[in-house]
């Protein structure tokens, strides 16, 4: 039933639009500026002195510090990626419907599902490309300035990209029915709520509070961004940090910048199901939209 050629045409058109509208170039320039700034920060770390003008940091201290600073820097990148994914996806379908741009395209021998999948594919390519490009560059900068490389660079990039994909998928679903602004605000609020929900769940687990545990679980199931963020954090933690956190026991549970374990396989399986459900819902919703 589904034809792949129009899907690729719509994907290409989506990337083309981002490029022509100077969105890509603006994001690339800003990202380079931020990476440059963090290069300076990491460079400064190497030559930072101990308390009271004491001797320079030892190699072990430097690596530990670099690993923690990296987590904050990646958090910033993840937030930028989340914002970008949502802002690009939210008007993607609704804008074309409101401007009547879809009419001439859908009167061609194409299905609505092919348009939706093409848009998703094009936007997903942009998200993955950004996550990979910015991630690799940042890790190179950290490595060159401090000599530190996180334990799982590929895992880190994959988790951050997956967060962007989750938000893009959610925003695209809303875009089949809601105007751009509304379709953007809802996933962004969801992203923050899921983050707070993750903290709540951690605190609940630490203090055996069932209510908080369920809150954390529900927010994780509805929008798996925070669960994926914990995966990214785990991918950035050296063995010593993980060991320290584990020794601290449940008290580290509420910290959104720490993870004692990688995401459970069940959670990762749920994330895949979540994508399938959301994309299915998007296709269904747009199929029924009057244009």
């Amino acid at each position: 039933m589904l034809d792949f050629a129009p899907v690729l045409t719509f994907a290409k058109l989506t990337i083309w639009e981002a490029a022509r509208r100077k969105l890509l170039i603006a994001v690339v320039i800003l990202t380079l500026v931020v990476i440059g700034a963090t290069a300076w920060v990491f460079h400064e770390l190497r030559y930072a002195s101990g308390p009271g003008g004491g001797p320079e940091l030892s190699e072990v201290e430097l690596l530990l510090l670099a690993s923690q600073v990296l987590i904050f820097v990646v958090f910033l990148f993840a937030a930028v990626l989340a914002l970008m994914s949502v802002l690009v996806s939210a008007p993607s379908i609704s804008g074309d419907v409101e401007s009547h741009l879809v009419l001439a395209m859908l009167a061609r021998p194409v299905r609505r599902s092919e348009l939706v999948l093409g848009k998703w594919l094009g936007l997903a390519a942009l998200v993955v490309l950004y996550a990979a490009g910015a991630g690799i560059l940042e890790l190179l900068v950290v490595n060159l300035t401090t000599g530190y490389t996180p334990p799982s660079p590929a895992g880190l990039i994959a988790y951050v990209a997956a967060m962007g994909l989750v938000l893009l998928t959610f925003a695209l679903l809303l875009s089949t029915r809601l105007a751009g602004m509304t379709a953007a605000i809802i996933p962004l609020i969801g992203y923050f709520i899921a983050w707070v929900g993750g903290i709540m769940g951690g605190i609940g687990a630490a203090f055996d509070n069932q209510g908080l545990i369920v809150t954390g679980l529900v927010s994780k199931l509805l929008l798996p961004t925070d669960g994926l963020w914990r995966g990214a954090v785990y991918a950035m933690e050296p063995a010593t940090v993980v060991a320290t956190l584990r020794a601290a026991g449940r008290l580290s549970g509420g910290n959104p910048f720490a993870a004692t374990d990688p995401p459970a396989p069940a959670f990762l399986a749920w994330t895949v199901i979540w994508f399938v459900l959301m994309i299915g819902l998007t296709l269904w919703s747009f199929q029924r939209r009057e244009i």
Partner: protein
Amino acid sequence: MVDLQERQAAAATAAASPAIHCVELSKHFGRTVALAGLTMTVPRGEVFGFLGPNGAGKTTAVKLLLGLLEPTGGEGWVLGRPLGEVAVRRRVGYLPELFRYQPWLNGGEVLRVHCELARLPRAAWKAETGRVLELVGLADRAGDRVRTYSKGMQQRLGLAVALLGTPELVFLDEPTSALDPVGRYDVRKVIHHLRDQGTAVFLNSHLLTEVEMVCDRVAMVDRGRVIATGTLDELLGGRSCRVRVTGLDVGQRRVLTQQFGRADDDGEWIVFRGLEAERVPDVVAEVVRLGGRVYAVEPRHETLEDRFLQLLGEGR
């Protein structure tokens, strides 16, 4: 089972030849009835005018026929294929009423995207885009971004998009709404060109004079239903004559209008419809016999507009 097969066979036979055939096609948006029950046949190779006041359901009908909307009821065939079939759209062109094309692409790029979506062979793209750009008079602006185009130029681009791949049927929804008189003349030329090459044109319009100039056949719709359909000659029913008369009382005027068939009494002017030219002196003689005074006699063709307003009036 046999019943169903018979129905399908009958449907296939009915749909084999016409460009469009639909029976009681309807569309409701919630409680709003956009199209009440459209039944009509559009022959192949003709220019078919689809006329109606704003809100009559013209654009909804086009969207249903193109498969852009799902009908609430009824059935239809386009080029012999049931409504909603994807493959038939390879043989159909469409200029929407609210036309818009990617403002960040240039005209040539928009056409190439549509060549790709229409599944034209890649080797033919260049010649085909060149051909349609030439036809609509946009060849010298093909390299400019669509966002720099005037409204009229965007409508010309839309027309070019609709003509790609030499379709067997082209839907033009108010194709001259943004055009100046020169642009309108150009569109008429394009429509004549399409008819010459055997393409059926479904022209949605409320510009009656335009329709009169290009259409072979028309359907008039009002409130989602066809109120009249036929060739222009069938619909207009020959000549009419307008006479300015004074000095007759109401009873005398009624006698006069009843004597000469269809007539509208419009104050000083009485319009006699479908009146043969040789009967005009008889009308004047009768007015004089009744004691009236004749100031003017204007024999003329009935226009589509007259007929349209008259039909609308009868229906309401």
